[in-house]
């Protein structure tokens, strides 16, 4: 990052400094606010209510979820993601939860580009860019190596896309999970090979268009249930999360950090470029997908104890969600009806599992 910076870069830097100043001002204002009497009273009331264990409907609980995330950023601006990228939000929230003592193993995926080319990096944690199918094995080795040189604290994260997790990396992931290697495996799921230009993966849902499942032959098989596969490994902690629910995601990453053994976090991360959706709809889609139960938010401990974190009061139909994404525009009413039936079946199955545990 040394040497003469071109004019454009200088301007960018000035812009960044301006943003940093604004961020700092915002932080100070917030601190001031938090000192105020009104804030203290409100906080105390909230705490009281939580302690009393007031019974509420899950929907109300969700509306009240206003825990702010820590302001510290380990992800800087200047990364190379597309507009409206869900994967960047996922990284930002996760790093807020994991903190500075984190090391990432990133196999081939969007994030191996997003971070920036040599000699740049948009993250303030070390990264090992590893081979496509090796995220879990590389992380397991890195963790063992760090421990042997006296670092027992660092959280080693395998950070892979759905292709690197559901497909090419599943062998190494299964191996690490069976051994219960002390790693946190995070899959940010944008439901296709987006880095190479939108080819189908086994995480691509039924009905979706991709460049290898063209409209005439759209994907006819359902998305692989990676969470059930990981649960079957009886790992100590597994959770699904969505960038549309940052507080829930933050809490899960925080919880996963404290668990020893293999932890698996499956984060839903919309991709406007690949889904043919509007960048400004990314968060909206990431909330809708939970509300319509296509991607429920839940946790599984030791493969048995299921906890559903968000139960929509009124389960929304999938139509609106599909309509916002060009990748589903070719589907007929009949296709959508079939997809709805599958979503319903999956949701019922999850409810039964949660009830049984």
């Amino acid at each position: 990052m040394k040497g003469e910076a071109p004019k454009q870069e200088l301007e960018q830097n000035q812009e960044h400094e301006k943003l940093a100043r604004e961020k700092e001002r915002g932080r100070k204002e917030r601190e001031e606010r938090e000192k105020s009497e009104e804030w203290r009273v409100r906080k105390e009331k909230e705490n009281r209510e939580t302690k009393e264990g007031k019974q509420e409907t899950s929907d109300k609980k969700e509306k009240k979820m206003k825990l702010s995330l820590p302001p510290e950023e380990l992800m800087g601006s200047g990364h190379l993601a597309c507009q409206g990228c869900g994967a960047t939000l996922a990284m930002r929230y996760v790093l807020k939860a994991l903190g500075q003592k984190t090391a990432l193993c990133i196999p081939a995926c969007c994030w191996s580009v997003i971070d920036g080319p040599f000699p740049y990096s948009s993250l303030d944690v070390p990264i090992f860019h590893c081979a496509f199918e090796t995220a879990a094995a590389s992380a397991a080795g890195l963790k063992a190596g760090l421990e042997m040189v006296g670092d027992t604290e660092t959280t080693v994260v395998a950070w892979a896309g759905d292709g690197g997790t559901f497909d090419i990396g599943i062998q190494a992931l299964s191996g690490a999970a069976e051994r219960n290697d002390d790693i946190l495996y995070i899959c940010y799921d944008n439901e296709a090979y987006m880095n190479t230009g939108i080819q189908r993966s086994s995480a691509t849902p039924y009905g979706a268009w991709t460049t290898t499942t063209p409209v005439k032959h759209f994907k006819k098989r359902p998305k692989k249930d990676i969470d059930a596969i990981m649960a079957a490994h009886r790992i100590p902690y597994l959770a699904t999360a969505s960038i549309g629910y940052p507080e829930d995601l933050y809490k899960k990453a925080k919880k996963a950090k404290e668990v020893k053994g293999t932890r698996f976090l499956h984060i839903y991360a919309p991709c406007p470029s690949g889904w043919k959706s509007r960048p400004e709809d990314t968060v909206k889609l990431a909330r809708m997908v939970v509300q319509n139960c296509i991607f429920p938010l839940y946790e599984v401990e030791f493969g048995e104890k299921y906890t559903i974190n968000i139960r929509p009061r009124e389960k929304k139909p999938i139509d609106d969600y599909l309509r916002l994404q060009g990748r589903f525009h070719h589907l007929t009413e009949e296709h959508i009806r079939m997809m709805q039936e599958e979503v319903d079946r999956n949701w019922e199955r999850l409810l039964r599992r949660a009830e049984a545990s």
């Binding site: 984190t102 580009v113 040599f118 070390p126 090992f128 094995a137 397991a140 190596g145 042997m148 040189v149």
Partner: protein, 384 residues
């Protein structure tokens, strides 16, 4: 301390004496005893290491690379199908400058399934940027593992210590096990100039534009070129401490030899028996055993072969559509150096067919009967 141990256990002993910190390995015949003994050494506490029992060789090398990046000394062992499964990661280890040391038991590639020796598995990894040592005795295997760590860590280039399936891996020989304290003096703890740590966050191996990539490879080659001199230096140091010199090649009765046989692996020792018998019959024969294959010991090979009238290179491998791989290397070493010595290329012993002193005598006769090297391959022992 002297012990009678098998070749595979010589690898395990080498790793233990080198105080490997992370081992990741997957079983494959004929390598299994290497990891079995290492598992016992780790379980008993004789070796303070983490042993990751991975689900494939690919993951074994991935885990070694990850551990090496953290600054740990790493070891693994494999063979044939396992080695070739690792191929992608062999490039990763050398490109990322991770000084992993790996034992490889030379086994023929399937199909048809073979568990017996030839060199095509490791020689087809020729261009992956690994240092390759071909050993001929269990003592040499053990000593070379320790030396390999020293050379690899000094230059940040990984090393492969190679031995023949069964002919060495399962053969028991007397081995002098060096004293741990002296080994510790010879091989201090691994302390890389850069390592992955959150206290100094760097991104390793990210997207590298044409602006930078070329120089990374240039530097790897420049460091590779330093290996021969470093082997001489560390080999002499080893000799001072343990009484055994570890060099790039081993020449046997080459000084006045008119015909020099060039061999590698255990065949290199078999050749010495043939040389003695040929000498008894009045033929001035010698044997040059090439131990270091990558980087190729050009200087030593040119120096020793330069005195001969004929050279016969014996390959237990083949580059299909070309010829024996050591043959290519020897010819390229001699080319352009005022050498007009005829160099004959022989292929024998593929898939573990025996290579005996008789094989070498047949080779010597064939070389002596020819004036010009006008055949690319002279096959020995093939049924046609």
């Amino acid at each position: 301390m002297k012990k009678v141990i098998m070749g595979n256990h010589a690898l395990s002993w080498g790793a233990q004496l080198s105080r490997a910190q992370v081992i990741a390995a997957y079983p494959i015949t004929p390598q299994t005893q290497v990891v079995e003994l290492l598992s016992e050494m780790c379980a008993s506490g004789e070796l303070n290491a983490k042993f990751i029992k991975v689900e494939s060789e690919h993951s074994a090398m991935a885990a070694c690379i990850g551990a090496s990046l953290a600054g740990a000394r790493t070891f693994t062992a494999t063979s044939a199908q396992g080695l070739t499964l690792m191929h992608e990661l062999l490039h990763w280890a050398s490109g990322g400058r991770m000084p992993v040391v790996m034992g490889n038991i030379n086994r023929a590639m399937a199909p048809g399934w073979s568990i017996w020796t030839d060199q095509n598995d490791s020689l087809s990894q020729r261009d992956t940027g690994w240092i390759q040592f071909y050993c001929a005795s269990n003592q040499e295997v053990l000593d070379t593992v320790i030396q390999a760590f020293k050379v690899s860590e000094a230059l940040l280039i990984p090393s492969m210590v190679i031995l023949d399936a069964f002919a060495l891996s399962h053969t028991y020989e007397v081995v002098d096990i060096p004293d741990q304290t002296t080994v510790d003096d010879y091989l201090p703890p691994f302390n890389p100039p850069v390592r992955l740590t959150p206290s100094e966050p760097h991104a390793f191996g990210g997207l590298t534009s044409p602006e930078h990539y070329f120089e990374l490879r240039y530097k790897l080659q420049k460091d590779m070129e330093k290996v021969p001199a470093l082997i001489e230096e560390t080999g002499r140091e080893y000799e001072r401490l343990f009484g055994r010199y570890l060099g790039q090649v081993e020449d046997y009765r080459c000084d006045d030899a008119e015909l020099i046989l060039v061999s590698s692996g255990t065949a290199g020792y078999t050749a010495r028996v043939a040389v003695d018998e040929l000498r008894d019959a009045g033929i001035k024969a010698g044997n040059l055993r090439i131990k270091l294959f990558r980087p190729f010991p050009f200087e030593r090979v040119r120096h020793i072969l330069g005195q001969a009238k004929k050279v016969a290179v014996v390959d237990r491998n083949i580059s299909y559509g070309h010829h024996g791989i050591f043959y290519q290397e020897v010819k390229s070493a001699l080319y352009g150096h005022d050498s007009h010595i005829p160099v004959f290329g022989f292929i024998t012993g593929l898939g573990g067919r025996d290579v005996t002193p008789e094989t070498f005598k047949e080779i010597a006769e064939a070389a002596l009967a020819r004036d010009k090297a006008d055949e690319d391959i002279i096959w020995i022992g093939v049924k046609r």
